[in-house]
Amino acid sequence: MIPPQVAGHLAGRQLEPLLAGCRELLEDPDFPTVERWRACGRPVIGHFQVYFPEEIAHASGALPFRMRGAPVEPFRSDSRFGSYLCSILKTSLEVALSGQVELDMFVTHPICDAARNLAGVFGRNFEYPCQILYLPQNANSAHAAEYLRGEYARLLGQVEDVVGCRVLPDDLRQSISVYNVNRALLRDLYRIKRETPWKIAADEAYALMAVGGLMSREEHSGLLERALRMIRSRETRRLDRIRVVFEGGFCEQPPLDLIRAISRSCYVVDDDLLIGMRWILDDVPLAGDPLANLAEAYLERSSYSPVQHDHRKPKEEMLLRRIEASGAQAAIVTAAKMCEPGLEEQVTYTRALDGAGVAYFVSEFEENMTSFDHLEIQLETFVENLMFD
């Protein structure tokens, strides 16, 4: 099934206007690409952070829409939540309640205590199916992959009911193939960040990646391919900036202006921003049972985050590896305000960084924060200390 083009206005643009267009799309709380998709009569399946097997929704012809909050005030959703919660929960519900985005199905995951409440909250507010996809939380069980394969089959059945069509194994293979291409392009983007970070600022790379959650991956891959070509040939001067890893953007996203503020004094050579889009590290095999392949990839060929416990991936060691592999000199260890997993992991990360003698900068953010002056001054001081130490 050929997906509709919803970001056609970006096609043919040179790099700077293309990046500006990505940024505009990302900051538009009316989600125009999703609206255009729906205008074509095609369904939209909203999924909350962090990881969702988008291939399953894609194979059905639906748009897998990554719900990552929005730059909106939670006027309607505020009364549906308690006081001590992260912003992304509220703004994700807000855009649905306000009609800024219309869904045909909503899926959340047991990533944290707050997020798994969303199935209940959405379910009480909308008629469409709202559910939890129980990704395995015992990643070390020999039976986790088999269980997950079954859970994916259950999800597929629900998606088929919503979309009103049967999805065949070959449809899934085709979607996996589309996503393999997209993941490879994102790996290329991150390779550029690591190897020649002066060619693409952190906020530009982020915008380019994040718009993938707002359109089909075929269209996103087309954008990425063109953008990557232009980035590689971009004439930019290498500046005297320190190389940092940004950690803490696995769920709620920092505002673009915050990422831009960081990139004014640092080269962000790796990060965990929207890590769900890059969760699977390698191509998912096309041969064999596609659902089993997706399940196996989730468990065995995947990145790390504070919301997955896996004895094989101690998070502080994974962070140190990320720092080493990217040649970073320091880490920015952040957490979204009120994000329990992120805040808990900060303690572990900073102790591990202390142990390894890696400099770090600790902070908290909120997706709707608007003032960065204080943080920028602190960060500049941190950078200067490192550079002139």
């Binding site: 409440n117 559910q131 416990h309």
Partner: protein, 432 residues
């Protein structure tokens, strides 16, 4: 029954509960002094039935933490953990436990042994993050028992349903994986007959627990679900799978049946019957309860007694002929019920409201616990749109006295009761 016999019977559950709790903690202190390692577990899916067969002392860090709050010492523990680096915005139970570990296991009630292993379900995500802390501190094995919950409100497939069987196989497989780890940690072989014994005791306890909860439909209510209920809950968790626990619940049923037959209530003048949704305010536990009882308000039931008993309220009975399989099934059903009572509780609350002839529902979300609290405002809104049920929504915390304002709570609670009174007066006038 003679007056003396009645005197001994009424209030026995509270006295015996306190005694058993002290004994249990004294045993933990002995284990700590002897350098024996313990199994660290949580209330939602403790697996005490299995762990006891390996003679592991069982430590419930949630219960330890709440005890620091009840004893007005939580702030010292919270400060210590925050000094260590933990944010004011994370679970207070976790922080109190971190400080406990930093103090070598020292608590106001005694001392707890170090973990030889941590076994926990995913009923609360914080369980998993919490266990990671012990893993890093002690290098002990930590085992997640992944128990998939209901995927959506009302989606509760039962035994025989393919979706249920799929989940059951997964849980059973994980139990099979856990047993060799336990054998390794304790240097003991798994004994299926001992499992049958602990399961039999757990059956008695669960039956008793459900009966006790059901008996509180009596008028007047026999016990305060907020205060007395927490004592019973403590025994239900700490002594799960033991003969002492089974005897306790047999006797508690006896006490409650006697009180029901004799019309003996928890309050001498019960004016309002209330349901409680959330977690109690432990930093001012006694005073918090008094804010309601002073108005003649009795808590007849609570979701806390459901989820914090790991779903034991559903009285699942293990099949002793197939102990491990039945344990997997019971774990799946119990933990799922516990999660449902936190995430999808509206239907159950409406049912309970009728069954217990309640006058109102008190929602008490807390800063510390997102699992319980995230959806409560929306759940209340949904409930009020579906039924004419008076409700109160108050926020505080289970651990952190910095976010507990007694004066504000009192204002809201007083206004709630004034509303209930005028509502009652209004309906009396209408019916006259």
């Amino acid at each position: 029954m003679t007056a003396t016999a009645e005197e001994g019977l009424v209030g026995r559950g509270n006295r015996e509960g306190a005694r058993l709790f002290k004994e249990w903690f004294a045993e933990l202190t002995r284990a700590a002094e002897e350098g024996r390692g313990a199994a660290y577990v949580f209330v939602m899916g403790s697996l005490a039935e299995l762990l006891r067969t390996f003679d592991l002392p069982v430590v419930f860090p949630e219960i330890n933490s709440l005890q620091t709050a009840v004893r007005h010492q939580a702030h010292e523990y919270l400060n210590e953990a925050e000094d260590y680096g933990y944010s004011p915005d994370i679970c207070g139970y976790v922080k109190a436990d971190v400080a406990t570990q930093l103090r070598g296991g020292q608590l106001p009630m005694g001392r707890i042994p170090k973990p030889a292993i941590a076994v926990y379900t995913n009923a609360c995500n914080t369980y998993i993050k919490w266990a990671e802390i012990w893993e890093r501190m002690y290098g002990c094995p930590t085992v997640t028992l992944d128990v998939p919950g209901s995927r959506a409100a009302g989606l509760r497939p039962g035994p025989g349903d393919p979706d249920f069987e799929h989940d059951r196989r997964y849980v059973l497989a994980q139990l099979h994986e856990l047993i060799p780890v336990l054998e390794d940690v304790t240097d003991r072989r798994f004994d299926e007959d001992r499992l049958r014994e602990t399961l039999a005791h757990a059956n008695t306890m669960s039956r008793g627990w459900k009966r006790v909860l059901d008996l509180n439909r009596s008028r007047p209510a026999l016990f305060n679900a907020l205060t007395d209920g927490t004592i019973y809950l403590g025994v239900s968790n700490c002594l799960r799978g033991t003969p002492e626990g089974a005897r306790y619940f047999d006797e508690l049923v006896e006490e409650m049946e006697h009180k029901s037959a004799s019309g003996i209530g928890t309050l001498t003048d019960e004016r309002y019957r209330l349901l409680f949704v959330g977690v109690p305010c432990y930093p001012i536990f006694r005073r918090f309860a008094e804010l309601f009882t002073e108005w003649g308000g009795a808590f007849v039931g609570s979701t806390y007694l459901w989820f914090a008993s790991g779903g034991a309220h559903s009285a699942h009975q293990y099949d002793l002929d197939r102990p491990l399989e039945s344990l997997a099934e019971g774990l799946l059903l119990g933990v799922r019920d516990a999660m449902d009572s936190m995430f999808f509780q509206t239907d159950a609350l409406l049912q309970m409201f009728d069954q217990y002839q309640a006058d109102g529902i008190v929602y008490h979300p807390i800063k510390s616990c997102r699992t319980v609290s995230t959806g409560l405002a929306d759940s209340r809104r949904d409930l009020m749109s579906r039924a004419d049920v008076p409700s109160l929504f108050i926020e505080s915390d289970m651990m952190d006295r910095r976010v507990v304002s007694e004066a504000q709570l009192k204002n809201r609670i007083d206004a709630f009761f004034e509303g209930l009174a005028s509502r009652r007066a209004g309906s009396a006038m209408t019916s006259a």
